[in-house]
Amino acid sequence: MKSLLEYAGLEPGRLHFSWISSAEGEKFANFATSVVESVTALGPIKRFAKDEVSVGDRGVEL
């Protein structure tokens, strides 16, 4: 799925997968931190996300 989404234009670094057991608290914390860093660096998503304002721009009443 990662491969397919990136093929469709999602930036590498936005989608992350890992196996983490409920007993691996530190691994989870480190992984979450690295995800946040990686995604923050990329900035807000443009691909796939719908912008509500653009619906109004097209003449639809919000």
């Binding site: 799925m1 397919l4 989404l5 990136e6 093929y7 691909r47 996300a49 719908k50």
Partner: protein, 318 residues
């Protein structure tokens, strides 16, 4: 009439006369050149309308799950026979109710390629083993059959049925290691913005008629995710992101199951090369799971339906 059609009618008549099956699913001549139409023969007179040539587009296996309770014979070339194997493996059909008439295939013609190669409306088209001749008002053009094949048929390595009860001709020679995925590799090589642009351009003509889904033998769900409104999984508008979601989700549902029969592209009224998306998934499965091709036999389950301790997982971070 070609030898395979003669043999097909003979087999169909025998099955219907002896009441071994209730219906023979095949093709008959269509109302316009280059397009045969699916046909359900229920008696030996109707069996005389069945035929086989290079215009039998679509995948007949898609009709099997709708034949509940009937004993059906189906005309199946390589890809269709693989889809029948899939439907049996996924328990959508009872193999005792199905009789497979194997049909070694030499590939189907792409009407769009032929229409593009002639100056006017085609009123008649005839083919032999090597050439296709299209005639119309003021022209007669002969094309190499290999130049106007469907984009999946020209690289097909499973022309002969993998499972059959009876076969309608000698097996055809199979291609060895054809060049595959050139266009998919070209898109993969682009940066993310380039890939986004390519895929958006590819899908921009989509009118969301869902013909691709309806023609697909994998899409037998009684209620498709796109039709569901509570919860609504996928936006129903023509917004490019909704169109993209539909195609990506459908492609993902075909993972490890697609036989590259090309029915989705053949039926697309807008001529979208849908297999540039579903083919990407097919390519990934083939590469990740050691050359796996869907449903070559009744025993091997698709890789995504089973768990192995050593399953490759290149996308998982430690």
């Amino acid at each position: 009439m070609n030898a395979r059609t003669t043999k097909l009618r003979e087999i169909a008549k025998k099955l219907l006369d002896k009441q071994k099956v209730d219906v023979v699913i095949g093709f008959k001549k269509g109302t316009i050149p280059l397009k045969n139409t699916p046909f359900f023969a229920t008696n030996s007179e109707e069996a005389d309308l069945l035929l086989w040539d290079g215009n039998c587009i679509g995948n007949l296996a898609a009709y099997l799950p709708k034949m509940a309770g009937k004993r059906a014979a189906i005309v199946a070339q390589g890809c269709v026979s693989r889809n029948v194997v899939g439907l049996i493996q996924e328990k959508q059909v009872d193999s005792n109710n199905i009789y497979i008439i194997g049909m070694p295939c030499t590939g189907m013609l792409d009407p769009r390629k032929i229409i593009a190669a002639v100056p006017g409306e085609i009123t008649e088209a005839v083919e032999d083993q090597l050439y296709v001749t299209a005639r119309g008002k003021g022209f007669e053009i002969t094309l190499n059959r290999s130049d106007v094949l469907n984009r999946n048929c020209d690289r097909c390595t499973v022309r002969n049925p993998v499972l059959f009860d009876e076969i309608a001709s000698e097996p055809k020679p199979e291609l060895k290691d054809p060049v595959r995925y050139e266009k998919i590799r070209a898109i993969e090589a682009l940066p993310p913005e380039g890939r986004a642009e390519s895929i958006d351009e590819l899908l921009s003509p989509c009118i969301r008629c869902y013909a691709c889904r309806d023609a697909c033998p994998l899409c037998y769900c009684p209620e498709c995710f796109v039709d569901k409104s509570s919860p609504q999984w996928c936006g129903k508008s023509q917004d490019d992101r909704d169109v993209l979601s539909y195609h990506l989700i459908r492609a993902f549902h075909t993972a490890g199951r697609c036989t590259e029969c090309g029915a989705c592209e053949e039926v697309c009224p807008m001529g979208i090369k849908i297999r540039l998306i579903s083919g990407k998934v097919e390519k990934d499965i083939r590469e990740i799971f050691d050359g796996y091709e869907a449903w070559k036999d009744l025993k091997t389950p698709p890789p995504l339906t089973v768990f192995q301790r050593d399953d490759p997982q290149p996308f998982v971070k430690e």
